[in-house]
Symmetry: C2
Subunit: 364 residues, 2 copies
DNA sequence: TAATTTAACGCAATCGGTTGCATAAATATT
DNA sequence: AATATTTATGCAACCGATTGCGTTAAATTA
């Protein structure tokens, strides 16, 4: 159990210790203060700070120096109110503490920051209801753009309407909707599923199982399609018993599924798991039962999570350019201009993935 | 290599397809629109929406219904400007795509969201310079509170001054400064280091190495102190050769360090690593050399990263309540009131950790 | 030299809520 | 019934930056 307690420590000295008991916060410096100090109008100060062309370089220099000297800091709320935009990118994802997601956010934040944009995050926890209320909060902040990876539950898309009506650029990443005219950044899940399955076939697998995710989410549906087509094209009969539909592709679900498969009279000799967590659990579970990997059972996962390279035997998997995906999504928003954006067109960016072969399929 | 390409797809139909070619964005509804519609003053609308006590329940109901009907959404920029606060919590951390950090952020976001606060994140990438400029951006957004885990480089603390001067609550988490009168949320690194080391001693280790992090960061300094004191209290001589100082505690550094240790004429029989990444690398590296774990070499890590339970043998480690840490940090900000906050007092919350014993130290 | 252009800056409205103070109407008190 | 309270609402200033339009003085051109 993790408990906690509080210590109060009185310091005699320290940084910024105040003399007066009831110290007032320092008044914030505004452009009006600068204006008064330099005998300019606030307009001139504002323009000077923004390097407006109608302000002389001499004045600009003077203003900026004074601003620095007085510790002036712009109030982005005021500017945002006036311009009706906040230079902020909003993100809605399921949960942040997953390797794939946090990498993507890292990519978004990096590109956004370089362009002077802030990033607000919100977690849906894979609940539709949370996604809806989070989007409202993001809208209320007048974000300049929205990046979304859909919650597992989301089917109805009405909550995106306000953003579209206001011309706020909307980018779906990874878990995207169908038939929605917005930016999308995805990987080619179909090909990835096909290639993962074909990899197992190439390694001599004859009975290949699939750990499938929720089929109303494009990523899992397409991976499964790729799996099915790879089987068909190689004249391997599809056995519905070998296709397990997961709810969350968790470790526990993976163990259950593996146990179930291994109990079959005619168990599989290969597994293509739609994520690494379940794939790793399959490795551990099969090993425990004394099944040799990859000789008796070859396994390939998806995402290239850190755990996939640590498990033994290391899990073959499909790479997933999460950080790049985030960077591109952010760029879509930064480069978006309502003028040149055609509302009847979807711009889809498809990133390619590749097989990362490791020991779990290393045979023949 | 990961390449990418763009597909442009023309849709004939779809959601929200516009009729006119040059659709204007819909005008946003403001409280003035509601006022006009209901024949009230904007003040009344504002108060009604905020459940002000001087507005009759009947009016409140009417206003809210109309707001819902017309799709009114508050503009938090305007409110924030007026009130000089934004109901937003700013976060500054090294990188988001690390398990420990993203769990903490997840905790922050969850608590913040429930209180109607937004969360802005910024990554320093462990660079002092980035931390400084990120804090400026957060300040400019007039965040209501700031949660910081210091970058590896940060020594000078002047960039926190503006927040303190403005009475903006500041919470340091995990990697905290010394002698700074603010909120802090940490774990008891000293005890954790002590207990981890003592655990190895209890398991019969006589020569215990330590993978130490940068010593100007409290967390690593204290873990090392705990390590040293545990040795001393058990009459084990400290051998400087066995203490490796890391720069980033990365996998690669871990391998190098392990190799170096194992080449010693008198190699260690136990390692206490200040994080799991390096600890896992030690396991893999030692195994490759045919060293038996835990019999010949027992290893314990820190953080309870997912990889620690996957590696074989599984890595013993110290739990780290990252999510709880985030929740508490957020609560500190939410509960902060400038009235009752004494500037000459540090409020430090210390969370306890515990040993998670796994196979890598499971002997005797 | 007169006329015109250009450069540099100021005025004042605006963005959308919030809030202290004033006011009018309704209710309570004596 | 006259006065004192309470209730419900409006007025107008304010938060800090931005920007269209106007103005003045200097520079350029005819």
């Amino acid at each position: 159990m993790v408990g906690w307690f509080i210590i109060r420590i009185d310091h005699q000295a320290g940084y910024f210790v105040t003399k007066e008991k009831d110290l007032q916060v320092k008044k914030e410096i505004t452009i009006y203060d600068l204006a008064k100090e330099l005998n300019y109008s606030p307009s001139t100060i504002s323009r000077a700070l923004n390097n407006h062309k109608s302000i002389s370089p001499k004045t600009i220099k003077k203003v900026k120096e004074q601003a620095e000297k007085m510790g002036y800091r712009p109030n982005t709320l005021a500017a945002g109110l006036r311009n009706n935009k906040s230079n902020t990118i909003g993100i809605s994802i399921s949960r942040i503490n997953r390797h794939f997601i946090s990498s993507m956010i890292s990519g978004i934040e990096e590109t956004a920051r370089k362009a002077g944009f802030n990033v607000i995050i919100s977690q849906s926890d894979d609940k539709y209801e949370n996604e809806v209320s989070n989007l409202k909060a993001l809208y209320d902040s007048r974000i300049s753009g929205l990046i979304v990876s859909l919650s597992m539950e989301t089917v109805n898309m009405d909550h995106f309407k306000p953003f579209i009506n206001q011309g706020i650029p909307l980018v779906f990443v990874d878990r995207v909707p169908q038939g929605f005219n917005t930016y999308k950044v995805v990987i080619d899940n179909y090909s990835a599923g096909y290639n993962a399955t074909k990899h197992l076939i190439d390694k001599g697998c004859k009975r290949i199982a699939h750990f499938a995710g929720a089929q109303h989410r494009n990523v899992y549906e397409e991976r499964k399609k790729g799996y099915l087509d790879a089987l068909k094209e190689h004249q391997i009969p599809v056995d519905e018993q070998l296709i397990i539909h997961f709810k969350t592709l968790s470790f526990e679900e993976g163990e259950k599924a593996t146990n179930k498969l291994l109990k079959l009279p005619n168990p599989p000799d290969g597994i293509f798991s739609a994520n690494d967590t379940a794939g790793v659990s399959a490795i551990l579970c099969a090993k425990k039962k004394g099944i040799k990997i990859p000789e008796e059972l070859a396994i390939i996962g998806f995402n290239d999570d850190p755990i996939s390279s640590i498990v033994e035997p290391a899990l073959s998997t499909m790479s997933h350019p999460a950080m790049k995906m985030g960077k591109i999504a952010a760029k879509r928003i930064l480069n978006h201009s309502s003028k040149n954006h055609d509302e009847e067109v979807s711009e889809i960016t498809v990133l390619s993935t590749e097989i990362i072969q490791r020991a779990s399929t290393d045979r023949k």
